[in-house]
Amino acid sequence: MSGSDPTHTYRQEAADLLEQLESDLLSLEGAPGNQDLVDGIFRALHTIKGSGAMCGFERVAAFTHHLETAFDTVRKGHAVATPELIALTLAARDHIGHLIEQPDTTNDAAGIAILAELSGLLMPAAAAPVATTWRLRIRLPRDAMATGTNPLLLLDELRELGPCTIVADTDAIPPLEELKPTDCYVGWDVTLTTDRPRSAIEQVFLFVQDDSEIQIAPLDEAVASAAPAAAPAATPRGEVRAIDSIRVSATCLDALMDRVGELVIAQSRLKQIASASSDMQVKSAAEDIERLALELRDTTMGARMVPIGQLFGRFRRLVHDLARDLNKEIAVVFSGEETELDKTLIEHLADPLIHLIRNCADHGIESPEQRAAAGKPAQGRITLAARHLGHEVLISISDDGRGLDRARIRQRGEEQGLLAAGATPSEAELFGLLFQPGFSTAREVSSLSGRGVGLDVVRRAIMGLRGSIDIASKAGHGTEITLRLPLTLAIIDGLLVRVGGGRYVIPLSAVEECVELDAAEDARTRGRSFLNIRGSLVPYLRLREIFATKAPLDPYQKVVIVSAGDLRVGLVVDQVIGNHQTVIKSLSRLHASLGTFSGATILGDGTVALILEVSHLLAVGQGREERFKAAS
């Protein structure tokens, strides 16, 4: 079991602290007077230093010590957390990260430079006093007056520091029969504006602070500013921490998932045997086991679910740095951070999302001057939102930038031969061009993007997760990219069908309906494979042909209509067998490249059934539809 190695434990602990540190620093930028954040940052640095010294990370401890000293000036109120200071501290945080990862090989030069700049920044700032408004909550102990404290004198001392508003809290005063005149029942809530440092305020309570409840906090300045960046600062920091949780190694969770998967398979075999048996006790036991297995499956899958906010949090730093690099003002807003996703999905989403955010920052959001000229606020906004919809998760990345230039895309498309000259593509087709490898409308290639490598890689990554990606845009207003992903990778509800002698599973979430294939329709030639479903034409594919099945044709063919987004196709099968709890087993690399199948599963009787890749079949169906339209 891990944990006995202090280095390993320290690394894990430090990773958490550094993450929180980064988050707090970014929040502090939007609320420079927030003392809670400053204290939190200071505590984190202090812990990193102390534990580092204990576990043998001397260089980390030494560097952090200097950083801590520098930041102490901010904590004492002698310096203000300006954006430059925050950026420097973020750089310092990165340096600490490097020192922890590679304690022997990291160059000290970077660290020394950072510390030098830091002290340069902080020295002159120490002289400038800043007027801050503080909220004080004063609750003295019952016997305060009996021991010689005069609360009114304390309040007078506060008034000397600056203008205050004092409100007495009389809630604790008992009815007259119980009142003891020498006891202090009154508390005070004070709002004080002063340019003296916090230590001056603490000084007032020097002799009473041990037994009293004195809380001093600066009023959040974020309230005054209109910047949407205030939103992340307003979120109480402690919220996520309060959830009762325990660290579990990922391998342990995966092993648990495997066992549960096998249990579900074994249980479905038992179900088959029980349904064939006439023994009531066996049937009843099998039912109980089925219920328990499904509950276990749901709970275990729940254990793997992680709120997407974890991923979103990493992007705050990304956008902050991007904005600085590009000399643009960009705020990032999150919604739906509590939306949960399977943990493996989250890991695979990081890179595609990073790329999409980069695109927004680089190509979408205009420079402050351009935005002003367009009548937009100087600060651009990138919004990341996530929500559940049925069996899927929808993640959208949108910006309020310049939007996509249809004319330019069409021009590029024609130049690259992807569009016929004079063709009138639909919006979906036009934006679809952006996913072609090598397609880029960027006039120049920046260090971030423009090479045309990105979007097709993003799309492949999303499709590898059995998801889909859509683009919507309004010129001048912005662009929105929506990702649709299945909720889980491991176990799905499937529809079991038979084609010839083989059985296949179609993910139930993609199935719209099942219809009979009219015998007359069936006799028609290939070129006219369309069904009329309540007025709309749906192309259909004969899976027998696609699979080159040699078994004889069943008389009554069924069509399973599947869909994803706007696309629909009918899949003609010999028989629809029924619902099936499908534990997805991935195909080995020998078969993984086959587009038609996304995986395999084991049926109740122990045989293997392949799982159909609906998006591939939809693409084939769509290809047929387009050829049909082109021909007619």
Binding site: G261, E262, I265, G502, I546, F547, A548, T549, K585, L587, S588, R589, L590, H591, L594, T596, F597, A600, T601, I602, D605, G606, T607, V608, A609, L610
Partner: protein, 148 residues
């Protein structure tokens, strides 16, 4: 050209169409009785089936097609030999059809020869060594290359 490694090679020998083939014993995971197989439409012809090995989905290969032999129906002695092909993260489990499984045996290094370029009936790139034991030739297969 004899093999440089002096240690004897431990192999599992099996029969395919009257010829004795062998796979390094360290690569062999298990030997199963033939069971239900599922066809994979669209797969390469030599590995177009899947089997269930205790809850795992494993591809099933017919080495005959890979080596250039004619396919034959299974017999009562047929077995599936599950082997491990590839190294490290690329390693996969693959089932291989055998007409008859003989034994795990050792071949002396001196008995192993590199595959000659000519004169070998089967695709030479899939053969690691040709061993001699008594009057028999034993063809030691290169599992990694076959399933690369």
């Amino acid at each position: 050209m004899a093999v440089a490694n002096a240690e004897p090679l431990c192999v599992l020998t099996f029969d395919l169409q009257g010829e004795i083939f062998a796979i390094e014993a360290t690569r062999v995971r298990e030997i199963l009785d033939p069971g239900p197989v599922t066809e994979v439409p669209g797969a390469a012809d030599f590995v177009d089936r899947l089997i269930n090995v205790r809850g795992r989905v494993v591809p099933l290969a017919d080495l005959r097609l890979r080596l250039g032999m004619e396919p034959r129906p299974p017999t009562v002695d047929s077995r599936f030999v599950v082997v491990e092909a590839g190294d490290g993260p690329d390693a996969i489990a693959v089932g291989v059809c055998a007409d008859k499984v003989y034994e795990v045996t050792e071949l002396n290094a001196s008995a192993l020869e590199e595959t000659p370029r000519i004169g070998v009936r089967w695709r030479p790139e899939y053969i690691r060594w040709i061993g001699k034991r008594g009057a028999d030739f034993i063809v030691v297969l290169d599992i990694d290359r076959i399933f690369a």
